[in-house]
Symmetry: C2
Subunit: 200 residues, 2 copies
């Protein structure tokens, strides 16, 4: 069985649990606490030198980090990974968009405003306006794209939707108001209605 090293509240880890559940792939979960730096200690760094979860462990001892790469691996041969070079490139386009233009603002705001110790947040408080400005910009790009489409890529539900859904549907925990992003809100309802959906 595959083992997922994870933090329960992490959206990046939830992406893997959601995709695996929808694909019928059982996962053995190893949980790490959100605080305390366990993933920066030598025992974990021997598994992933970049010190991050999610990390997928195979029975033969191989490890695969990076949520996007794990989603790609799990989805091969399934409906969550479309066929055709163009549709596949579109899926990856939105997964790279999420990691570069979305997660660093929307997930980071959620962590600091929703989960960090109060005194640690105070040292980051001056960054909140930039997180909100850039996070809203990403939400605007998503809303425009979804105005004419049900899903992000390949005209069907894929790992691109899973990647973007994870932190978007928890954006309110980082102080984002999605009232003005009605296409995003309708898309989140469609994701929630997909077979095998599980909540974060």
């Amino acid at each position: 069985m595959l083992t997922l090293h994870q933090m329960a509240m992490s959206g990046n880890c939830y992406k893997i649990r959601l995709a695996a559940h929808q694909l019928g792939i059982p996962l053995n979960l190893v949980d790490y606490p959100l605080h305390g730096g366990k993933t920066r200690e030598p025992e974990f760094l021997a598994k992933n030198p970049n010190g991050r979860v999610p990390l997928l462990e195979f029975e033969d001892g191989r490890f695969l980090p990076e949520s996007g790469a794990i989603l790609f691996y799990l989805a091969q041969g399934s409906a969550l990974w479309p066929s055709g070079r163009w549709a596949q490139a579109e899926v990856l386009q939105w997964m790279f968009f999420e990691q570069y233009s979305h997660e660093p603002y929307i997930a980071v705001a959620r962590f600091w405003l929703g989960y960090a110790p109060k005194e640690a947040l105070e040292a980051k408080r001056h960054l909140v306006p930039e997180w909100h400005q850039k996070g809203y910009a990403a939400l605007g790009v998503m809303d425009g794209h979804l105005a004419a489409r049900d899903w992000f890529a390949g005209e069907r539900y894929s790992i691109a939707d899973i990647a973007l859904y994870a932190y978007t549907h928890k954006a309110h925990e980082g102080g984002f108001d999605l009232d003005d992003y009605r296409h995003v809100r309708a898309w989140m309802e469609r994701v929630k209605a997909t077979p095998g959906y599980i909540a974060l």
Copy 2:
């Protein structure tokens, strides 16, 4: 012919030029100035609502943004994209690593220290220590991985190497000293020696 909307000095754009040249794919280049915000104006936003280059334009009017997605698209069916689910996932692992843990520090330091107007840099100067700390951490992960390998994934040169090479070989412009990263330096020499290599 494919058209690449690009900025000449951008490492993300250089990745596409390098891969296309090595694959024998001709590109029509449309250059944007580094400063002045042309990619945030309506004419460009109609092509890519996220306001970024590189952006690949197809003859039929489709557009593909995100350097990682463009590299994936161009490399399909070539030696730059390995066969096999595991090797492909490894390639994407390093491409996501580059965009999340490497580029935001190493490319950003290069831009502000090497290319930004002096008065703009002063407003960012307090961020330089964090860029260097996190950028060196990424270089450490790379150096450790390359200690036992010639290439990042699939045991051969791939778009993962191209993605990581682009900003690593210009890291000195952002104040990074690579003297202690000898495996990275040896790997950069191997990249430079690949057939069809072109300089940034």
